[in-house]
């Protein structure tokens, strides 16, 4: 593949992935409003288009044309930098995510992954520390929220971002530890390698997903709980607890800057769902349906991947409609006294079994 083709393919892949990601983000908001509405016995958005399907577009237009108020008391450079930082770190993570196997189009083979390439032998390969890059970007994402609260120069914002920073740093430990079990059984840090290790099946139908085949279901639940805290979602949404802090760290933001925080939160949800899918649910692997025509078969991995992502996004919404918010000390105690020891125990037990098998 020449340098020019490589560049063109890369740009096309980036454009498609970011386009799809932003659409998913917009329609997750729609789905959330609709689903939570039905759970609370209301309709949710229903006026703009059929089933309110054009609501995200209307919201986007509204955000663009609203007056962008910059309060006079803010620290202006940091106030402008914070939403950009939050959104950029949230959107960049998707570049590491392997969405599907190699596709062949117009005589060019490339994996469905922005940072993936096909090597000389025809195998797909990607960054060999991919999962760590995602964790690194997540840890940098804290700055967006922390700086938003600090630069707003307002009590509620500062309290919200203090809570967010403490919570994200605390739960990042459990989140990282819960992934170590999977890394131990996979023997690689490359996300594509982790998916490839789960592609097999026992007896022709039981998938070798890490959650069952390698007994990582405890790690899976630790990961999910830590991920809820990392993305500041209910029941861990203390940083933006409306009843206490107005809107938390983005109280002083309006129009598109507020929308950027909003998009960052939902993009982070998608990234977390992608990582959970890759680490625990076998990525794009799924039942093969041999009776379908070959053209449809080629899209099956993407369909399975999308289904798993949809499942996780729905669980997010479901839990938001079900659980009340924790108290802050409960949140910290739960993170450090329950999740952290449990994650450590999981690492030790998994390491023990890996050592026995080796």
């Amino acid at each position: 593949m020449s340098a020019l083709t490589f560049l063109i393919v890369a740009v096309i892949k980036i454009a498609i992935t970011i386009g799809v990601l932003l659409t998913v983000v917009a329609y997750t908001v729609w789905l959330e409003r609709k689903a939570v509405g039905r759970m609370q016995n209301r309709w949710g958005p229903s006026r703009v288009g059929p089933f309110g399907l054009l609501q995200p577009l209307a919201d986007g237009a509204k955000f663009l044309f609203k007056e962008d108020v910059t309060p006079p008391f803010v620290d202006k450079p940091l106030y402008l930098l914070a939403p950009v930082l939050a959104l950029v770190t949230a959107l960049t993570s998707i570049a590491m995510v392997p969405i599907g196997p190699i596709v062949h189009l117009f005589g060019i083979s490339t994996p469905v992954q922005i940072t993936g390439v096909v090597d000389g032998a025809g195998h797909a390969s990607d960054i060999n520390v991919g999962i760590l890059v995602i964790l690194g970007l997540t840890s940098l994402g804290v700055y967006g929220i922390a700086l938003a609260g600090w630069s707003s120069n307002s009590k509620y914002s500062l309290l919200g971002s203090l809570r967010a920073a403490a919570q994200m740093v605390s739960y990042e430990v459990s989140l990282g530890l819960s992934l170590i079990g999977v890394l131990l059984v996979s023997g690689t840090l490359s996300l594509r390698g982790i998916v490839d290790a789960q592609l097999g099946r026992s007896f022709g139908f039981i998938p070798h997903w890490n959650i069952l085949y390698h007994g990582q279901f405890i790690a899976f639940f630790i990961y999910m709980m830590a991920a809820f805290a990392e993305t500041n979602r209910v029941p861990f949404d203390m940083p933006e607890a409306e009843t206490e802090l107005v809107a938390g760290y983005h109280t002083e933001y309006s129009a598109m800057k507020f929308a950027m925080f909003f998009m960052a939160e939902y993009a982070n949800m998608v990234t977390v769902a992608c990582v959970a899918t890759i680490m625990f649910l076998g990525g794009w692997s799924g039942p093969s349906l041999p009776f379908l025509p070959a053209a449809v078969q080629a899209f099956l991995p993407l369909v399975w991947f999308s289904c798993k992502i949809f499942f996780f996004l729905f669980v997010y919404i479901w839990i938001r409609g079900t659980l009340p918010r924790f108290r802050y000390d409960q949140l910290m105690a739960f993170g450090w006294k329950f999740l952290f020891p449990l994650a450590l125990a999981n690492v030790i037990v998994t390491a023990f079994f890996v050592a026995i098998r080796a």
Partner: protein, 164 residues
């Protein structure tokens, strides 16, 4: 290309370090330090040490600097004041800097040439770093972990002192 990237990130690193010193607001200094950490990570990446680069981002730019920013936010630290500067620094400072740089450049020119290695020949991937840590540098690794443990215990003791 490689040299260009190196110069870019090296300048970013040095610029961040200088900015760290001359900024009056504490939070701006902390952010400059993040820039320094980030550009160091990119220089590691240029050396072919991708694992160390990512760990640099996670640990230093991510965890440690978040705690710095957290403390600055918690104390609501405002602007610092410039001190008039010490007489010793004014007299010895620039000559000392020149002598120090001259010595460093001399050492690198004399001994640096033999050490040039191609990119990727060093210990980039995680498994090689792990093997090195748990075989060749095991003693240093364990001693460091004891040191960290002592630091944690010290912090706990200091935090508990006000209770009793």
């Amino acid at each position: 290309m490689h040299l260009f990237l190196f110069l870019l990130f090296a300048m970013l690193c040095v610029g961040g370090a200088v900015n760290l010193l001359i900024q009056q607001k504490t939070i701006n200094s902390a952010l400059s330090l993040i820039v320094v950490m980030g550009s160091l990570a990119l220089i590691y990446l240029l050396l072919g040490a991708e694992f160390v680069a990512v760990i640099q981002v996670i640990v230093y730019a991510g965890a440690i600097m978040v705690l710095f920013v957290f403390v600055i936010m918690l104390l609501n630290a405002g602007a610092e004041e410039y001190s008039p500067g010490s007489l010793v620094a004014r007299i010895v400072g620039i000559p000392g800097l020149l002598v120090g740089s001259a010595i460093a450049v001399g050492v690198f020119l004399r001994h640096g040439q033999q050490q040039l290695v191609p990119i990727g020949a060093l210990y980039g991937p995680a498994d090689k770093v792990g093997i090195l840590i748990f075989t060749k540098y095991l003693l240093a690794f364990e001693v460091t972990s004891v040191l960290v443990l002592i630091a944690i215990m010290g912090a706990v003791v200091l935090a508990r002192r006000s209770d009793s």
